[in-house]
């Protein structure tokens, strides 16, 4: 031990460090170029959303016209409302179901648990397109049957989109909450019970408040997943139930117009605020 702790190796390291400085320059160059790569497209898009020209190629001066036009666009307003309704409902439901699932996996034992756990990870692993068409086929078949058997006329729309969003986001909530539960100090619960709290009181006043940061993180994740989802929404939206991503996709397919820049920039700002807000929240809670 004492031999290993002498200062003998130190001089050997310093020259190596100096020799590595060229290597470090290359490494930092990689970091710099990667950051440019990550930010250039969205910065260019945002800047050109203020461009007075209809054509993308040249800067013709500053204008807010595209934003004004977007805020007065009826289709955009409807799509934004749909997106928000779907995201709020699916976040609420998937946060509750996801938290319950996390508690089930971490706190109880039951026979088919490993099977259940495996099945729960599948929606995370399986490609979105596969889940999207599976739900399309399922809803299609169910609606046909319900129509033939009970004369019910159900259609694709906000309902099918919301059900689908819950199906792919609650496993993510479960994973996040479960991580929090795994390093949970159970002596706190025991202390509460020693002091006379029953199961429900322990859960309500000790477990739940301590789990809250995990639950909020899970809810934010569910909200973002729902607001951003395109593929599953695309296959399970009926006629007239457009969301913001579907609206953007439609416009991009029809040809690039500057109002898409404005709409995208607003979405970009919204998600940035969401992320920075959640980070600030986590920081405040951890200290």
């Amino acid at each position: 031990m004492t031999v290993g702790q002498t200062t003998a190796p130190r001089p050997a390291i310093r020259p190596t460090r100096r020799r590595l400085s060229a290597g470090w320059a290359a490494l930092w160059l990689n970091v710099l170029v990667t950051f440019v790569f990550l930010y250039a497209p969205i910065v260019v898009m945002s800047v050109f959303s203020f461009n007075a020209s209809r054509q993308m190629q040249v800067w013709m001066g500053f204008t807010l016209d595209w934003y004004v036009r977007m805020f007065h666009d009826e289709r955009v307003r409807v799509a934004a409302e749909n997106s928000l309704i779907i995201a709020l409902v699916s976040t609420l439901v998937s946060t509750v179901i996801g938290t319950l699932t996390a508690l089930a996996l971490e706190r109880t034992r039951f026979r088919v648990k490993s099977l259940y756990e495996g099945a729960m990870y599948l929606p995370i692993i399986v490609p979105e397109i596969v889940m999207a068409i599976a739900l399309l086929v399922f809803f299609n078949l169910t609606f046909q049957w319900l129509g033939q058997l009970f004369g019910l006329r159900l259609n694709f729309g906000l309902g099918t989109i919301t059900i689908a969003h819950i199906a792919f986001s609650f496993p993510f909530v479960a994973v996040v909450v479960r991580a929090r539960l795994a390093d949970f100090d159970r002596t706190l619960e025991q202390a509460a019970q020693d002091l006379g709290a029953n199961d429900w009181q322990t859960f309500r006043y000790v477990t739940l408040p301590l789990l809250m940061p995990g639950i909020i993180a899970g809810a934010l994740l569910a909200f973002t997943l729902s607001i951003d989802d395109f593929v599953i929404t695309f296959f399970n939206a009926g006629v007239g139930s457009t969301t913001l991503p579907l609206e953007i996709y439609g416009r991009v397919r029809r040809g690039i117009t500057p109002d898409v820049n404005a709409l995208s920039t607003v979405l970009l700002l919204a998600s940035m605020l969401l992320v920075l807000g959640s980070l600030a929240l986590q920081r405040r809670r951890s200290t």
Partner: protein, 304 residues
């Protein structure tokens, strides 16, 4: 008498204990049911059952007007071996592998720098990586389209500098698709590698250098093997969404670069051959599950 009483008492405690055990077990069962029930029901109804139906469809025939005729057949899977579709499969796997490799080549040194930078910078650098990542995927793909178009910023700049006369065709090529995939999934590679380099004990590098290893050897023989779990996790996290990507090849490939997800979309919404579309989606699922299993297999053998 005394013995009988003792036995009776013993029996009573045993049965009492048993009953308590039963009660706890039953209550635990009930609790498990209440907690796991809603999630299980949702999974069963809106994931497992739909997937099972698609699986059944993949063995069915196409009826008139795009309906599904329930006669068992393997022709959908046989049809996949047509060169037309095998090509789509090969292109998808190739582009996904290329994306994974590029992400690895950029992401490993990137993660290394973040992990070795002063502690107070690390979180800021990670947040900077995550901000574009958290913005809508479609928006990011669209932003790349703006740059790559023939009248986009890159072509404009190159033409003004006099480096090219004609605008380069970048959009609607495999290059654009790979660029879009790398842009989309790079953080999936950076984060797990960062996590494993951050945990790495760097005195091991000093030890290796004391024993005469140069920087390259220290990296190749010590750092890389010990951070391999992060590399594997990152690779699987990039490969899986890349091979099943729909939006990126659709917008950046513009119908010229067709990947498996585009084929599925086409079979369902345009051609309306649902059984064949179902078979293709099961082939995609098989690729993804095989990759996941391979990942866990490698992880296991490494631990031994």
């Amino acid at each position: 008498m005394a013995i009988v009483e003792q036995i009776q008492a013993g029996e009573r405690t045993a049965s009492w204990r048993e009953r308590l055990g039963d009660a706890i077990r039953q209550r635990e069962g009930l609790r498990a049911l209440l907690l796991a029930g809603p999630g299980g029901l949702w999974l069963l109804l809106f994931f497992l059952l739909p997937t099972a139906i698609v699986f059944a469809y993949s063995f069915a025939r196409r009826g008139p007007y795009g309906t599904v005729a329930w006669t068992f057949t393997l022709e959908n899977y046989v049809r996949f071996f047509d060169w037309l579709y095998i090509r789509v499969f090969l292109v998808s796997v190739w582009l996904a592998l290329l994306t994974t490799l590029i992400c690895l080549l950029i992401g490993y040194p990137f993660a290394f720098v973040i992990a070795r930078s002063p502690r107070r910078w690390r979180n800021a650098l990670l947040v900077l990586v995550l901000i574009p990542f958290w913005t809508n995927f479609l928006v990011r793909t669209y932003a790349i389209m703006l740059l790559l178009r023939s009248d986009g910023l890159i072509n404009n700049l190159l033409q003004r500098l006099g480096l090219i006369d004609q605008p380069l065709t970048m959009l609607f090529t495999p290059f654009a698709v790979v660029l879009g995939l790398v842009y989309g999934y790079l953080p999936f590679m950076i984060l797990p590698i960062y996590a494993s380099i951050e945990k790495f004990d760097f005195t091991l590098i000093e030890a290796a250098q004391d024993l005469g290893a140069n920087a390259w050897h220290a990296f190749w023989r010590v750092l890389l093997p010990l951070t391999l779990p992060g590399v594997l996790a990152g690779s699987i996290l990039v490969f899986i969404p890349s091979v099943g990507a729909f939006v990126t090849p659709d917008l950046l490939g513009g119908g010229k670069v067709v990947m498996i997800a585009n084929l599925i979309n086409q079979q369902f919404l345009t051609v309306r051959h649902w059984p064949f579309g179902s078979a293709v989606s099961f082939v995609l699922m098989a690729i993804v599950l095989a990759a996941t299993m391979l990942y866990f297999r490698i992880g296991e053998t490494r631990r031994i």
